[in-house]
Symmetry: none
Subunit: 227 residues, 4 copies
DNA sequence: TATGAATGAGAGTTCATTCAT
DNA sequence: CATGAATGAACTCTCATTCAT
């Protein structure tokens, strides 16, 4: 499920031979390494080529420009994460709400935790270039997967499913990102995960039609009493 | 409450005279305009100076470099937002938990909504330079303010207050950022706010010692039954 | 009478200060020198800057690119030549046809001969880039000037003035160019000039209405005899 | 009648086999196509090879470099044109002067008109590289052919045949080139041809010894009268 | 002999910053 | 204090050419 790309961001040639494949792999890997090490300001095409052990010309045989290289890199990572989350969501269809809740939170954090440094580096890179479409594409995939899972979950219909999905996905992905971006909070990731699981359960539970109903009743009763 | 800065990022001279103040103001304003208009790649010191109507030399009289300029700009915006949230939190000390919850969410979103375009532009700018300390500074202020508010809130002690603060602040700030960054979700900001209010109430409620206790009891009973 | 230019070819700033003027002059002069010495393949912006004794950055302050630099250079030379020819044509209005003929040929060759090496160098340079508009602009000016001169000349109306102008101008400018481009013919320029004067006189004389008429009569008589 | 070439410009191998011939043909054809389509700046060896349907390595088997490729291409076209003009000149030996005049002009313009776009493209290409020898070679052939024709023409001996040949050939070839190079004059090629025929006849007629003599007599008489 | 992946010197251009005026 | 011409290191990207397969 690749997002449509403009020509400027398309890969120049598909590496068919084994040698080519290795080259592309080396370039992408070198890019991540540089991103991790020196930040995005130290990321130059010549440095990438040198680190990858190829000539600058070779790099440009496979990527039409620096932007395209980063685009490919970010796309690949986001796709990998999206895949993982999608699989988890599909595996939990028709399960109890709490299990569904945990499934999304855990699979998302796991995906990001797989290579946390890389995740951070790519976050930064993607913000600089115009890669909103990539991010949007991933968010859209998450929305679909989560929506389908919640729709089929045991133990609760939602009054406004789309709104819940929007908010939950934003809170989980955004919150995780926030934790990742601070050097002094990343150590507390396990704590964050536990709390995020609890927050999600509580939120979803409270957004169920029955819960909403109860809440309304409670409010009305309270008003009656206060009269 | 200014964050500590290295010399490289310090403003060169405190503009005491009225004319100087106007110059600094013009430069900062021009920077935002360019950021909004052309993105961070079109942001050059020469362009800023021209747009501000001053010479490039003058710009360097007040800022030791481009980085410092952006640092000042971002810091100012973050400070403004932090101030607003701090005030709201202080105003709600000793109030019921739900009110506290709403206070933080609403004040934070309001602060960001004041000039949403500028917020987005500055997000991008701050990511490129090494401004983690600014972001961290803001987050630290929010943590303190929220912690104090929750600590004094009616209706609940928290078993692990710091963990709750960490998670809640991350989810609210990160979630909001996520909504802001997508062109197609920003329109649904009102919906997001409503849901985020609900999510926050549910989470805080569920993190109360009494709630946790009830939950434990429920689990134990369930286990007893299943025996 | 400047030709309209696209933004890409426009000079970046008009040098108002004396220092700037000198810089621009130095750059243009250096460009010609390099063109003369090494041909167009040795013409790089960095070499130009070095030869001009300025930094590469300075060059780009005044010209948005290499193309624009050459454009300005060629335009300036063509304008100078056009001016000279225009003046000569205007000075010979209402003179005998032979004098008019000589005026154009001589003024054109003189203009090109002023700095023959530069002329050759710029011919080459202009061919590479898209400077047809400059050449066309000059040709158009020549057409107008020559037409006005011939229209007012003593001793002959032309049956098809525009056609004569087109052809004469092409033959004179093209022929001269041809002589300039060969190393071994440029030495014979004086001979060429003499012959071109004669060719021009003969052509214009023969294109006069009276000459054409005589010619027709002669042909008809010849046909009568052959019957 | 090939011009002498340096090693660098020599074709690497004479393609004797049919397959080789086809390859060379394809490469040369592809070169023209690219020249016509994208101009000389879009002409790269890799693109030529791809368009020709051969690998870049194969291209270098037959041509030692890009320059040699263009050299061969231009040489071939110039040779073709030269052949045509030579044939025409030889066919008109011992004919009346007017017929000789027409023969050269018509055969030259016809040769260029055969594929006007290609002519223009090759003009540009040849200017960039050091192909003066090719152009000179062609001009030399034309000089010889025209000289021989005029020498044997009925109705006139020339006082300074070589000067006439130099000038006439320059005017015809240069004038034609000028017409070809402007987009807005190429449409008037037929008109130009007619006028060039007339100009040539008039010039040659006037360069005849008898004509020159008459002219001298006329001038002397005029001087006598004015005494 | 044909292939095409790899090469790398060098091209044009930008932009944060300085300093003589 | 303000100016803005000048700087030049560093950047992205091209393309003629080679050579292992």
């Amino acid at each position: 499920m690749t997002v449509l790309k403009s020509d400027r961001l398309m890969s120049r040639k598909q590496p068919t031979q084994a040698r080519s494949q290795a080259t592309v792999e080396a370039v992408l890997e070198a890019t991540i390494q540089l991103l991790l090490h020196g930040g995005s300001s130290a990321l130059t095409t010549n440095r990438i080529a040198k680190k990858a052990g190829v000539s600058i010309g070779t790099l440009y045989q496979y990527f039409p420009g620096k932007e395209a290289l980063l685009y490919a890199l970010v796309g690949r990572h986001l796709d990998k994460a999206s895949d993982a989350v999608e699989r988890a969501c599909q595996a939990h269809r028709a399960m109890p709400l709490a299990a569904c809740s945990d499934a999304f939170v855990n699979s998302y954090i796991d995906a990001k935790t797989g290579n946390p440094e890389a995740s951070r580096a790519l976050y930064h890179a993607s913000t600089e270039l115009d890669m909103k479409d990539l991010g949007s594409g991933m968010i859209a995939r998450l929305h679909r997967a989560v929506r389908a899972m919640l729709f089929a979950a045991q133990g609760g219909k939602f009054a406004d499913l789309d709104d819940v999905v929007l908010t939950w996905v934003a809170a989980v992905t955004g919150g995780t990102r926030q934790i990742f971006e601070e050097d002094d909070t990343i150590a507390r990731l396990p704590v964050f995960r536990t709390q995020l699981l609890q927050m999600s359960r509580a939120y979803l539970e409270a957004s169920t039609v029955t819960a909403v109903l109860e809440n309304c009743v409670a409010i009305i009763e309270a008003e009656d009493l206060s009269d």
